[in-house]
Subunit: 354 residues, 2 copies
């Protein structure tokens, strides 16, 4: 996969010869500088434009880029081990938002599908990364490489992280998981639950930490509430686990991911438990597909499509030299709304206070 494209392509020099001017004039006309530094009379300008139209000239973006102009290309990179194809529900709404906003802004998207995997994560800054082809870049992924982020900051390469980041000076648009998880947890407590189990994953990305903090925060606001955090991958969520939790007094489960919530529902069914009759269950994410088959979970709904769009919009502002972006605006958190489903009611038996 190499080779040269466009053997018969038209260059500014050819335009210039046809129009009887120099290449510089063609460039000036093309870039609308005809009335600025140099002034080009209408007669000449129109003649050049005529030839441009006739030949169907298309600028060589590589040359423009090399000459120092932006090319309205935004890179999209993800740190997950495989590039998130559309099949993976987590990224689908994100990419949809990014694409829609890109069309709005009139810029192209360069998807770095080629990034090599090292140490379980994909690398952005490898030997011949095409990163520098783009004006800026969006970074996706639960866990990012702090060193690479710092390096990009140091080099002054414009980028925006999708999701909150702890690294200094990293611009991001994230989701306010702390407030959202706290609100959902409070809703659980308001329903009368006092003993809650939080099922979470092992990973240590910022969004994971934020969710955990939010749940703890929500519990902390209500006296007499008890929170048990349980690290459990999907396959570890068994009927036995739920039975044990119930035996320990737990009346409500907060799951971190939609997959975990699905496992909770399945395990409950297998254990002969009903939701929310025997156990309330809520989750901090949207189900993959809000179809009729999935139980109508009470949940936190993170606006992922908007997250994608807002991230690209922020990058657009960073790249706009006319936009004097306040530092405070370089970091934003979007609100998550609590969606009422049918899996949260008042606790049934012993745990109620009567």
């Amino acid at each position: 996969m190499s080779g040269r494209a466009g053997a018969g392509k038209v260059t500014q020099r050819q335009i210039a010869e046809l129009a009887g001017v120099s290449q510089a004039v063609v460039s000036l006309v093309l870039n609308g500088k005809a009335n600025g530094v140099s002034r080009i009379p209408d007669s000449t300008r129109e003649r050049v434009e005529q030839v441009i139209a006739e030949t169907g000239y298309t600028a060589n973006a590589a040359a423009r880029r090399l000459a120092g102009v932006g090319n309205r290309i935004v890179g999209v990179f993800t740190y997950e081990p495989a590039f998130p194809t559309a099949a993976q529900d987590f990224y689908t709404p994100l990419l949809a938002g990014i694409e829609a906003e890109a069309e709005l802004l009139g810029c192209d998207l360069l998807m770095f599908t080629s990034a090599p995997v090292r140490a379980g994560r994909r690398r952005l800054l490898h030997g011949n990364s095409r990163l520098r082809l783009a004006d800026g870049c969006l970074l996706l992924g639960v866990r990012m490489d702090g060193d690479e982020l710092a390096r990009l900051v140091a080099e002054g390469f414009p980028f925006v992280a999708v999701g909150r980041r702890d690294v200094a000076d990293v611009p991001y648009v994230g989701l306010d998981y702390v407030a959202g998880a706290a609100a959902l947890t409070e809703r659980v407590l308001a329903a009368g639950h006092r003993s809650i189990a939080y099922l979470h994953l092992e990973q240590a990305g910022e969004s994971i930490v934020d969710r955990m903090r939010g749940v703890e925060l929500g519990c902390g606001r209500v006296a007499g509430s008890r929170l048990e955090t349980v690290q459990a991958d999907d396959h570890e969520i068994t009927p036995d686990l739920l039975v044990n939790l119930l035996a320990a007094g737990t009346t409500a489960v907060v799951a971190e991911t939609a997959a975990q919530a699905a496992r909770v529902c399945a395990a409950a069914g297998a254990a002969g438990l009903t939701i929310p009759g025997d156990l309330s269950a809520v989750v901090l994410a949207d189900p993959p597909r809000p179809g009729p088959e999935a139980p109508d979970l009470t949940r936190l709904s993170p606006p992922r499509t908007r997250l994608g769009a807002e991230s690209l919009r922020l990058l657009g502002r960073i790249l706009d030299p006319h936009d004097d972006l306040p530092v405070a605006d370089r970091r934003t958190l979007l609100d998550c709304v609590v969606v009422d489903g049918r899996t949260l009611t008042a606790p049934a038996r012993r745990a109620t206070q009567r």
Copy 2:
């Protein structure tokens, strides 16, 4: 959105100074030409590599491209008025296949989300298209611009159309709708139906034509069969339409699109008709989501994910100078399989021959 990226970026010249050699040597080492045209002793090579590693050098892809080397970037363009975001079910599997293959081939994808719309279609070759940045390009869309295709062919720009094209010398990977539609139609006829209605759209793209031809071909193979073609957009598929078709002797409906098939099912329900009891129904496409809610339609299943992957693979071979691709391989059609569902049985009443 402009501005320059990478103020502090490392160039080959800097590497050269640090290593005490010339820029040319750095280039030679980087490109593995150290044993070819020029020979570089290991001592020098290792010294240069050392500096490269220390500085974390990343090549400027724009410069490489300008200097005439491929950059392993493949453009993805669609002629539909809006770039197909992941939400649109038609393109989702296609893009998934393309992305997966891109990761396999180790190339990046440049999505031309910025293309302007003119005359109802998006334009690939506009003033400052970033097309020339890519080594080659994949073209999607039901209807393409024949002039643009011819122009690309004339310029020698490497590209592959996703879907069969009538334009001369256009390489493509398509779906064998003719054979597939014929096979499905034959299956309908084999079930005993002799009076079939084909519901199709107005558009005139190659794939539409192929499906029509396939249905006609299938009917033509069975003596005594009758085919009625009905151009009907989704909203024109009403209970009345089905009732009229039945009254005219039709016992089976072949729908072109999944949306049409869904409308047929809905209209049948509204008219008090059962499928396949009163009317058999088959469709030449997969349903958007093969979930439990959709009726289990007998249908043609076009391998869209594979279509995307094979298209990119073909482009990869075209771009590979070592691959002496036979002309015949530049155009391929993939087989569609017939999937047996529950919406095709023998005709119920009058139309049977007994």
